[in-house]
Symmetry: C2
């Protein structure tokens, strides 16, 4: 239950955390969802050291969460855009934010709204099958047996 990158881990939470368990990667993903794509945009937005940023972008790229795209041939320049896996990470970020809004409020707080209707969004996690809110009923973690 403790090694980082080999991941024979049967726990999907641990698998996610194996490479998303640091603050910078998550903040980079937040900014990527916000629309940033370039090295210097991330660097300025986050105040991150370039060494760190290089490493984090490389890892996220290797992991298939971001991908490099050439946006200028002369001079050759690349930007980092979200892959499908990266875009699928939005609900996770939103739920992290929802928890922060509820339990770490105080002062000005960013909220999210529908880009078209302008309606504020109240994110909740539910079970798609029954529609019940996650947390409203007791759950169990199950490790499937191979019979």
């Amino acid at each position: 239950m403790n090694d980082k990158n080999s991941c024979d881990e049967p726990c999907p939470i641990a698998r996610s955390l194996a490479f998303l368990g640091d603050t910078w990667s998550l903040l980079i993903l937040r900014d990527a969802h916000f629309g940033l794509t370039r090295f210097d945009q991330f660097r300025k937005s986050l105040g991150i050291a370039p060494t760190m940023l290089t490493r984090r972008l490389a890892t996220l790229t290797e992991e298939g969460i971001l991908e490099k795209r050439l946006y200028s041939e002369r001079p050759p320049r690349e930007e980092y855009v979200l892959t499908a896996a990266g875009r699928d990470f939005l609900p996770v970020l939103i739920m992290i934010g929802a928890w922060g809004s509820q339990h770490r409020s105080g002062g000005k707080l960013v909220y999210i709204e529908d880009a078209e209707t302008g309606q504020a969004i109240k994110p909740v996690a539910i079970d798609e099958v029954t529609g019940a809110k996650i947390g409203s009923r007791p759950i169990r973690f199950v490790l499937p047996e191979d019979d």
Copy 2:
């Protein structure tokens, strides 16, 4: 955008990450939701060094996510139980796990089921107001002005 505990941060994601942005804290919370409460249970489950565990439990306790409870007077022994804020973190963990299941699958994978009905749970994040899946419509991050 990078200091940990002062948090005048207007971004709720950054606020959450300020103290939840490390793997150990999240794995401790996972185990706490799984039912573990004692120092040695966490230590054995995670294979974490006691130094680390002490510090992480102390931080989570200070932050009001866990609280200490005396479970034996002689000898005096304490356990760590989730507070309301800690219990509210479950949807975040579940969404992290859901992403891992989708994008880091392979081999045996733990899944979650309803503890009473035994029905497997498919977690999704939706907007409670409209019922739309998070990610199905474009969203915007908004920083409120103080007029």
